[in-house]
């Protein structure tokens, strides 16, 4: 990472935790974990509360749908770390019925059912252009999404427009798929806090 403090500036107890994670998972500690554990009162703890609520709080979107939104926002931002991390979580959440990687490979999202497809396309425009208008929202509503579903999707989009920027700025290293699969398993069982 581009800031040494994020790699090795943690307190003793956190370093012990990292050693434990590495021993149990047999994988390197992901840079996103190092980020949220550094001066956690400043960013990690309050952002963790936001992300937990957006990704695991009450919503009519499934966990898999919300993880797919995270991966799609990451793809729009060209954030390699976040694409791999959240594609892995979405795939584990959906199971074998859906192929997340194939879904994301089509720019038109032809394999995604409505109203999730229209919602994703709106999130992509918002992420790419930093703004959307009422006509964009009418398209999503017309595809069958409720106003509450759109608000819930925007909460996901907010979280990953923060995290993706930090991954890019701090230079997260991108490990192999085994590390992301281990991280995905953790996020599905323990969440984001």
């Amino acid at each position: 990472m581009r800031l040494r403090i994020l790699d090795s500036g943690h307190g003793f107890a956190t370093k012990v935790l990292f050693a434990l994670i590495q021993t149990v998972s047999r994988q390197p500690v992901l840079d996103v974990v190092k980020l949220v554990k550094y001066r956690a009162d400043f960013y990690g703890n309050p952002m963790g509360a936001v992300t937990q609520e957006a990704m695991r709080g009450q919503s009519s979107w499934s966990v898999g749908d919300r993880e797919l939104m995270a991966a799609f926002v990451a793809k729009t931002n060209q954030c390699d770390f976040c694409i791999k991390a959240h594609s892995a979580v979405a795939q584990q959440a959906y199971g074998k019925d859906k192929d997340v990687y194939a879904m994301l490979s089509d720019p038109d999202l032809g394999m995604v059912e409505e109203p999730l497809r229209a919602t994703l396309l709106m999130l992509g425009k918002l992420t790419r252009e930093h703004s959307v208008d009422a006509n964009d929202m009418r398209e999503v509503l017309g595809a069958g999404a409720s106003a509450q579903q759109i608000e819930d999707a925007l909460a996901v989009c907010f979280a990953f427009n923060v995290i993706g920027r930090l991954a890019d700025a701090f230079g997260f290293s991108v490990p192999g798929s085994e590390a992301f699969n281990a991280g995905a398993k953790y996020l599905l069982t323990r969440g984001y806090r």
Partner: protein, 100 residues
């Protein structure tokens, strides 16, 4: 998701008004991507508008100008959250406009 707005507001209050290694006004400038002092202005703008193009040099320049790592950490976090908030609020306004 009734709690997410409260959590987001608490996050913004913490990063802008809580204790830190930078002043609240420096953090507010990064959050707004406006009025950022020179060694950090390019980095903040890149975080906000095209973060995938950030390179090692974008962090090295402010550090060489005396910006500490903790200061850079706080400024980057504020810049990222500020831009994401602006996007979120623009989208929410667009959604609310459909009801008028």
């Amino acid at each position: 998701m009734s709690n997410v707005k409260q959590a987001r507001a608490a996050l913004v209050t913490r990063i802008l008004e809580g204790p830190g290694k930078t002043t609240p006004s420096e953090r507010r400038a990064a959050f707004n991507n406006s009025g950022v002092r020179k060694p950090l202005a390019t980095l903040v703008d890149k975080v906000a508008t095209h973060s995938s193009t950030i390179t090692d040099a974008d962090l090295a320049v402010p550090k060489a100008s005396g910006v500490g790592e903790d200061q850079a950490f706080e400024i980057v976090v504020c810049a990222a959250i500020g831009q994401a908030i602006r996007q979120y609020e623009a989208a929410l306004s667009a959604l609310e406009a459909t009801a008028r």
